[in-house]
């Protein structure tokens, strides 16, 4: 999985980030946080302007990681016909 370094860095610093930047989007490259942004898109634009097409991570700073749902996909219902 790509972005392992970034994910580890985020997890190591999550509690500090939440204290100061809850609800923002962190831009992380390697083991450095490059800034916090109001939206994921502004974080993305900043990332592209700094790193071009190199991988970087944009992660929402939240106390508890959200667990996303795609029930139709996981249940194989995206092509269901009634």
């Amino acid at each position: 999985m790509a972005l392992e370094t970034e994910a580890r860095y985020y997890n190591d610093h999550r509690s500090d980030f939440v204290k100061e930047h809850d609800g923002k989007f962190a831009l992380i490259k390697g083991d450095r946080c490059m800034g916090f942004y109001d939206t994921s898109y502004t974080a993305y634009q900043a990332g592209v302007s700094q790193f071009g097409l190199e991988p970087f991570m944009i992660h929402e700073v939240v106390q508890e990681e959200p667990i996303h749902q795609l029930p139709a996909y996981y249940l194989g219902l995206t092509h269901a016909s009634l």
């Binding site: 790509a2 097409l53 944009i58 795609l70 995206t78």
Partner: protein, 160 residues
């Protein structure tokens, strides 16, 4: 606010090859709220490639299903591969067997043949969808839109 309205009409064939047109109501019930989309790299990505003199990958066309059960928009992994995208995040997904981590990618979603503006989203989760479906449009993007599912008239309306 640009508005897209669409009435669904499905033609089926029976065992003898006789064609029958379903009502708008039955057509929408059968297909679900799908619409044509084209997925491309983001404008920022395209600018960088153009500056390098590299060829920008052509958009991939297919169908999007509006999926109010999806908490996040999902794109077919083959599209991400074709566009040669680098991941921007990894997120936790829940399923019947537990949880898994999946990668997110930055894409631009266009709605050809409609007045709807393109939407660039830097965090769309990748998963394996079946052609011609290439996108599940989830609540993260629906939060930007007004969406009406008019079952009796077999019609949808989207505005944003």
């Amino acid at each position: 606010m640009p508005l897209f309205e669409h009435e669904y009409s499905v033609v089926t064939k029976d065992g003898q090859g006789k064609r029958t047109r379903l009502s708008n109501q039955a057509s929408l019930a059968r297909l679900g709220p799908v619409l044509q989309v084209a997925i491309s790299v983001t404008p920022e990505h395209a600018v960088i490639m153009a500056e390098r003199g590299a060829e920008v990958p052509s958009p991939i066309s297919g169908l999007a299903l509006i999926d109010t059960g999806a908490s996040i928009t999902a794109v077919d992994e083959n599209v991400c591969r074709h566009l040669n995208l680098a991941p921007t995040d990894s997120i936790l997904m829940s399923h019947a067997g537990g949880q898994e981590t999946r990668e997110c990618f930055p894409v631009q979603i266009m709605f050809p043949g409609t007045p709807l503006p393109p939407v660039a989203n830097p965090r769309v989760v990748s998963c394996k969808l079946d052609a011609p479906q290439i996108l599940l449009l989830g609540r993260d993007l629906l939060s930007l839109m007004k969406f009406v599912y008019n079952g009796p008239q077999g019609r949808i309306e989207i505005a944003f």
